[in-house]
């Protein structure tokens, strides 16, 4: 089993939901495919979708909804599908 850390590509505010009233993009333990959106990073009023670069199981989020991130901070851990 290989684990991959998903890191913040730039500083900003991390969101797990598309908007406050909607469910999270991905639950912990959920399987994601390449290109699936796992969260949003807001930087200077621009929202950028953070997408899975590899398929696998999203084991856990290190960053909660509305967490302030520095570039390189770990957002989540993914267990890569074999």
């Amino acid at each position: 089993m290989t684990q991959q850390e998903i890191q913040a590509p730039f500083p900003g505010m991390f969101y797990r939901k598309p908007s406050p009233d909607e469910p999270v993009y991905v639950e912990e333990g959920q399987v994601v495919q390449v290109g699936d959106v796992i969260g949003l990073v807001e930087v200077m009023k621009q929202f950028v979708e953070l997408k899975a670069e590899i398929s696998g199981t999203l084991v856990s989020f290190a960053a909660g909804n509305e967490t302030v991130l520095e570039a390189g901070d770990v957002i989540a851990t993914l267990e890569v599908s074999e």
């Binding site: 730039f10 900003g12 807001e42 200077m44 009023k45 621009q46 302030v68």
Partner: protein
């Protein structure tokens, strides 16, 4: 008269207002978020008060928290700056109800001019030209075709409930209108829950020209116009005063129409009337009014010599205008270049960071409005505007040269900015000729840089 002014904003405009407050003999208090405790505005202000967490919704947009902070620090007036709550009628009302002076017009005027349909109706009543369009929502094609007689083609089909560029379709001719109208109505119903659509003349190549006014409720004066056609994604990038497109007769007619509208509504404070100007026909059309100080106000200050922020504080306190129209004269030319923390080589992606090295341009005719200082780490939560580089000179040609010289002196390490874009723009032949409209900059950016003749010259020289 007021004594303690609470400034509910951040960045360069908070600092700008601190300066005006101090020069006016007021105690300046900056209301800031938890992410903004180390800004230059907070450092320079006489006092500071934290109003909430980093997210604007919980601080700079949080009316109850702001009113509470204003009371706690015994402020007797509130300046909203631009953006955030500056055009919130609710905020203006809340400030007034708390017994403080709002530095801006009354809530009723903010609400009236903030509603596009009401602003348009108000302009028509004041005799100000508006973009020709249907006086009411069009029902079916027959109804639309009667409107076409006065509006002409091409035209825009606009959703009544749309905004910010959403819910707009273009029809070039009768056939296109017949096809697009039902689609536009269905789309408007689906998107906004309101199927009403209006028709409006489509002015494909227009300039954005705006007029600065001040009013005291009885009388209004104008401070001439600003040309703000150089925009990217509807955001102004480079502004100047006056406009290179107007002859003196058109300038007079435009500016007088702005005064007529301001006086018609009994306007109090600083306001800006935005117009579309059609180079081809020389016609101008009112589009909207901003009931606040604007980002680009310094170019007006440079060419007229008045301090608009100090004046708006006086006016909000009920003082009459201190100047007559004939006291306000245009002198020279001013340019403002917005320095954003964005990378022009990466499609203007935000580039927050820490200021490692900073050398500002200086010398004759240079003004810098900025909250940057060496060691400052920009938070990633807010707008990317970090500095305004403003230059003044005797005429437009000299001002563009001075702008180039100023950009050469400007040195910032730590993150990318749009300064490099401005350095290329001020050398561009079309910019030098003042030959542009609101679509120019995006077309110019889409071209390979090697097509720009100023770059070619540099390459040829190497």
């Amino acid at each position: 008269m007021i004594r303690r002014l609470l400034i509910v904003n951040r960045g360069e405009i908070a600092l700008r207002i601190v300066r005006a407050a101090q020069e006016s003999g007021l105690v300046s208090i900056v209301a800031h978020s938890e992410a903004d405790t180390d800004t230059l505005a907070v450092q320079r202000a006489d006092e500071a008060v934290c109003i909430g967490p980093a997210q604007a919704a919980k601080s700079y947009l949080n009316i109850p928290a702001i009113i509470e902070a204003a009371k706690a620090c015994q402020a007797d007036a509130v300046h909203p700056g631009y953006g955030f709550l500056s055009e919130s009628a609710d905020f203006a009302q809340a400030v007034k109800e708390a017994g403080m002076v709002f530095i801006g017009p009354d809530a009723e005027i903010i609400a009236r001019m903030g509603d596009k349909a009401m602003a348009r109706q108000t302009a028509i009543e004041a005799g100000v030209p508006v973009v020709p369009g249907s006086p009411h929502a069009v029902k079916g094609l027959d109804d639309a075709l009667t409107v076409v007689e006065s509006v002409g083609f091409p035209l825009l089909i606009k959703a009544a409930a749309g905004g910010g560029g959403r819910g707009i379709r273009v029809a070039e001719d009768r056939d296109a209108l017949a096809k697009q109208l039902p689609l536009a109505q269905a789309e408007a119903q689906a998107s906004f829950g309101d199927g009403r659509v209006y028709l409006e003349r489509f002015i494909s190549r227009a300039r954005h020209i705006e007029v600065q006014v001040l009013g005291d409720g009885k009388r209004a004066v104008h401070f001439f116009e600003r040309e703000c056609s150089l925009q990217r994604r509807r955001q102004k990038v480079f502004e100047e005063a006056p406009s290179p497109a107007l002859d003196s007769a058109t300038r007079k007619a435009l500016c007088e129409s702005a005064v007529a509208l301001a006086e018609h509504v009994g306007y109090v404070g600083a306001g800006t009337l935005e117009y579309l100007f059609d180079d081809a026909t020389g016609e101008f059309f009112f589009i909207e009014m901003n009931t606040r100080i604007q980002v680009e106000h310094p170019v007006t200050e440079m060419v007229t010599g008045f301090d608009l922020v100090r004046e708006m504080i006086r006016l909000a306190c009920g003082q009459p205008l201190r100047m007559a129209q004939e006291d306000i004269a245009l002198k020279g030319w001013a340019i403002e270049m917005r320095i954003n923390a964005e990378d022009p080589d990466r499609d203007f992606f935000p580039s927050p960071g820490k200021v490692e090295t900073l050398i500002w341009p200086a010398g004759p005719g240079i003004r810098i409005d900025s909250g940057l200082y060496e060691g400052y780490k920009m938070p990633p939560f807010y707008d990317s505007l970090v500095a305004k580089l403003i230059v003044w000179d005797e005429d437009r040609e000299s001002a563009l040269k001075r702008a180039g010289r100023a950009l050469d002196e400007f040195h910032l390490e730590g993150f990318s900015t749009t300064a490099s874009l401005h350095r290329r723009l001020v050398e561009d032949p079309a910019v030098k000729e003042g030959a542009f409209d609101t679509t120019f900059l995006e077309r110019w950016l889409a071209e390979p840089a090697s097509n720009h003749s100023n770059v070619k010259e540099v390459i040829d020289e190497q």
